[in-house]
């Protein structure tokens, strides 16, 4: 785990000698973060215990709305997390 975390972080510094990656590769790499995050996110919202959970009872899906809003408005990493968790806490108390 440590290795796969550290290697991407240190790799560019090792290339400080000025060698540049091909533009196509750089473009492709820039799309990896939104792609991988969406690929991780959507199943976690839509599936419960391995089953598709597309109902009004899906609290995670509902809570995603204020979480997204908070993320867009604050551009902060932790405020949306705290807000999302708060919404789920309240949601669970109400159900």
């Amino acid at each position: 785990m440590a290795l796969v975390t550290y290697i991407p972080r240190v790799f560019p510094f090792l290339l400080l000698s000025g060698r540049k990656l091909p533009d196509l590769v750089i473009s492709w790499l820039r799309y990896v973060p939104p792609a991988v995050l969406a690929a991780l996110l959507l199943p976690s919202l839509l599936f419960s215990d391995g089953q598709l959970f597309l109902s009004a009872d899906n609290l995670f899906l509902w809570a995603a709305i204020p979480t997204f809003a908070a993320a867009i408005l604050t551009r902060n990493l932790f405020v949306p997390v705290l807000i999302g968790m708060l919404v789920v806490i309240v949601g669970r108390l109400l159900i």
Binding site: P8, W28, Y31, P34, L41, F78, G84
Partner: protein, 236 residues
């Protein structure tokens, strides 16, 4: 490079302490999320030692949460490692973006800085490093304060995890999806990126339904990123 001081520094305070001042928003964020990570790790069956070690040695907040979440879902280690690698690839671009400001640093300092690089500290450094005469001590102080907060949060979570019998009332199981949302939104700066996210997300769901429950994330990412460059070329 700008001379404009846009950091909340306190006059007369040594660089190391000002580092902590600047890092405060990150510290305040890392404590609860580190706590969530600690509790989830404990629930997933990770030993306290391993959980803490990850925060000390790996120090990648989102990757740790993702790994613990995947681990809880019973996904095999190889996928977790690959997913961690792919999720952390963005750090490669962050490092590349900051490297012009770290010219002249010793190899040892660069190695240390790279190890401490996270999304949140990157955001801080991206605004302050372009300033003239930025203190290296302050830079390291920021990173140290951030990691200390993360480790402390983890420790509290590991200890508190024993007391938390049910994660649901505290919504700790939502920390991970919420973090994905926040990270995703930060990545959506261009229309093409939104399109990529949609394509990749749907692919991931589709592949999961088709039974690819171990590899859906990586395959969807490859499809999504490739879709992105194809669309980009097509638009031009």
């Amino acid at each position: 490079m700008s001379n404009h001081q846009n950091q909340p520094r306190i006059k007369g305070l040594p660089a190391s302490l000002n580092g902590i001042v600047i890092a405060l928003p990150v510290i305040l964020g890392y404590l609860p999320v580190g706590f969530a990570y600690g509790v989830l790790a404990e629930k997933a069956g990770l030993s306290a030692v391993n959980t803490l070690l990850m925060s000390i040695v790996v120090f990648a907040g989102s990757a740790q949460l993702i790994a613990v979440g995947l681990f809880s879902a019973g996904i095999e280690p190889l996928t977790i490692i690959l997913t961690t690698f792919v999720v952390n690839l963005r750090h490669m671009l962050m490092s590349a973006a900051l490297s012009p400001y770290l010219q002249g640093w010793r190899k040892r300092e660069l190695a240390w800085f790279a190890y401490e690089l996270t999304d949140e500290t990157f955001a801080l450094h991206a605004t302050r490093l372009p300033e003239d005469g930025v203190s290296r001590t302050e830079t390291f102080a920021i990173n140290a304060a951030a990691q200390a907060a993360w480790i402390l949060g983890t420790l509290l979570g590991v200890v508190g995890g024993r007391l938390v019998t049910d994660i649901e009332p505290l919504a700790l199981d939502y920390a991970l999806p919420a973090m994905f949302i926040a990270l995703l939104v930060m990545q959506l700066n261009r229309k093409t990126e939104v399109a990529v996210a949609v394509v990749s997300g749907l692919c991931s769901v589709g592949l999961y339904l088709a039974g690819w429950d171990q590899w859906h994330v990586i395959m969807a990412t490859l499809v999504g990123a490739t879709f992105g460059v194809v669309v980009e070329k097509w638009i031009k």
